[in-house]
Symmetry: C2
Subunit: 411 residues, 2 copies
């Protein structure tokens, strides 16, 4: 590893107690001893956020987002000071900064603000003086001096944004897994850790629930060309590099297989085939915070259309209620729904130049006697909806068919 | 009560849990319903600070004051947000501010900073718009953007300083006692709550360990003419007013009796009678954070002097060690010490114009067969050191002799 500037990010489980914070200090110290400048971004300790939210909910039936930001940002502030103390105890010169002290300027939105700017003078001065800088993730300040939070995956975003603003050589995301896998190793024995993956592939996998890294942070990294590495905070092995040009495993067409159970298909039958119907349905659902994933429209060209879409099964009751309430507006005949479904997706940038990948997928599934109930494709992804019971065998068959268990020869 | 601006301060025991924070919201709402503008200053919840300190001590043998300030200021930030939520839940427009958001500018010292300035624009704007403003006590920001704390009694100081800066009509200090008493009611049955007391008297009582209000806050109030009221957060009765011109009980010469056990007298015998000896001794002790209270010098005029001083008994071992280490420098013959002592003090602004108060005190104590071992006087206070076993009977005898149990006729 050449000497440079590394941004490290440690999530809540990596700093859950005093002992784990001391372990993080060791990881930071190693990087410093390697001759690198280090900026560390941390989240709130383990269950801290839950405890704070619990108190707020005891007090308020609908807590204001502004006061929740005020409350929750104390979590990371505790971690940064304890980590700075742990580093100082090991003899390192370390200093902690809240989001606003680190110059993190956000838009004036509470609970889910976007970063507008990072004023890095203070951090740059500390780095130049040899200091390790510890920054609170997830938080920022508006130009009016209001404390904001960045929403889900906020600490990942803080780390990537800082890496971009400081022109860091690398941003290491430490987590409780050792990297990004070809598929979930808890379900598929042959799952293999990837050495490299492109931003777009990671985005598809992250959006598909691979869960190690927030899509917003990946997008930020892609836009600013920040090289990410997802790695374990407990083990020293190499993780998975995420960058534009991946130098290894180029010959793989499919990079990974993502899957998710508890999916429900909802079909609206006999819908008035007007231009307004489609936006009306999905705007109405979005207003009720119901996330719709795959959407399939059939029967265009006639005066009645059928629309099918997939949702999380936990949203079914509310979805049916919303559709029922708006029956007059939407003007449909009836609703059908099917629960007990799963989504299985193959992801890989190589698909773009390899036609027939989707066809091969369907063939493999058919060979296993698995019925495909819905399909959705993007340039680097094919998603299928199958029954819950067939999810794991679908993943295993695809993992074999696309030879993901094989280690590719490095370029 | 005329309409105006009230600053209320609630300490850690008053906001120890969710239920108590809701109770504080009720007290704040009452004041608002009375037609007043209200600014509320709160401390960290109950045991929060202890918990944070405990984690820091697990990590660091000598935690840096800067990081401790970073850590501890999260405590009040949690309370302000929860109190703002509780007020909003009751239908009030409330907003919380950290110390730095409230414009609290301090000197660049960690752990014990003094307030330099308060930029009140933001709070004034909120008050003008009818908002209840909730401010984190104990904390501020340096001009360089560093988070600082105000040290012991810091939240009292925040409240008084805000009251001064906002030109508030009154600053109410809510605590777990109902006011300032003529002496400690846990020891003396006849102890009576005072309706009023002057700043100087309160200062002497506070310094003597009456403990309800930090001396620094009293001094600040005196310098800026802020009327204080010490009152209970749990009961609705009137508390004790602290102001320059006290309108009631003027005819009392002695206003209160303070006392403190676990005192030790240390005597340095046969000290070289040079000009340098006295400063050398007390500078050396101060450098070791040993607080010296009463100091008596005898034997001046000869070439050898004796110095006696009182300390807390818990500081005895270190005091003896420091004196032994510096024996060569101080050039004394030997050290004597007497433990098991108490300090009993009478306080009252009326003493200034009533000579013979000290004489009466000694007479009362002699009448009870109590030997006085050390004496110290100021314009409004006489302190005596007696044996531990005689402390309570000394206080009772003085409380009777100076007729403190009697309610004075209002002026």
């Amino acid at each position: 590893m050449k000497m440079g500037l590394i941004v490290q990010k440690f999530g809540g489980t990596s700093v859950a107690d005093v002992e784990k914070i001391q372990n993080v200090a060791n990881r930071v110290a190693e990087e410093k001893e390697n001759g690198n400048d280090v900026v560390v971004v941390v989240s709130a300790m383990g269950k801290t956020t839950d405890h704070l939210v619990d108190m707020a909910q005891q007090i308020s039936t609908s807590p204001s987002k502004r006061e929740m930001d005020m409350l929750l940002t104390t979590g990371e502030q505790v971690t940064i000071s304890l980590l700075a103390l742990a580093l100082q105890q090991k003899g390192y010169d370390a200093i902690s900064y809240t989001g606003w002290q680190a110059g993190m300027v956000t838009e004036p939105v509470h609970g889910n603000a976007r970063i507008l700017d990072i004023k890095t003078e203070r951090i740059k001065k500390d780095l130049a003086e040899g200091r390790i800088v510890v920054v609170a993730g997830f938080q920022g300040l508006t130009e009016e001096g209001e404390i904001t939070t960045l929403g889900r995956g906020g600490s990942d975003t803080t780390a990537v944004a800082l890496a971009a603003a400081l022109d860091a050589d690398k941003c290491d995301i430490y987590t409780d897994v050792t990297g990004v896998y070809t598929t979930d190793p808890r379900y598929v024995k042959g799952a293999r850790k990837l050495l490299g993956i492109s931003y777009d592939e990671m985005l598809e996998l992250a959006n598909l629930g691979a869960g190690v890294l927030h899509p917003r942070a990946v997008e930020f990294a892609k836009n600013y060309g920040v090289t990410l590495e997802v790695r374990s905070s407990m083990e020293v092995e190499r993780g998975t590099l995420i960058e534009e040009e991946i130098s290894m495993e180029q010959n793989l067409i499919v990079r990974g297989i993502a899957f998710e159970d508890q999916i429900t298909r909802v079909s609206i039958i006999g819908l008035d085939n007007s231009i307004a119907s489609l936006p009306t349905i999905f705007t109405t659902l979005a207003n009720h915070h119901i996330n719709v994933d795959i959407i399939i429209q059939s029967g265009t060209g006639t005066d009645k259309a059928n629309i099918s879409f997939s949702i999380k099964s936990s949203d079914l009751a509310e979805t049916l209620e919303v559709l029922e309430e708006n029956k007059g507006l939407l003007n449909y005949e009836h609703i059908e729904s099917e629960t007990g479904l799963s989504k299985v997706s193959i992801v890989g940038a190589g698909m773009i130049s390899n036609p027939g990948v989707a066809a091969k997928m369907f063939e493999v599934l058919a060979g296993e006697g698995i019925q495909v109930k819905m399909v959705s494709t993007s340039e680097i992804k094919v998603s299928t909806v199958v029954s819950d019971e067939q999810m794991v065998s679908a993943v295993e068959a695809l993992h074999d068919a696309f030879e993901l268990a094989k280690v590719a020869v490095s370029a």
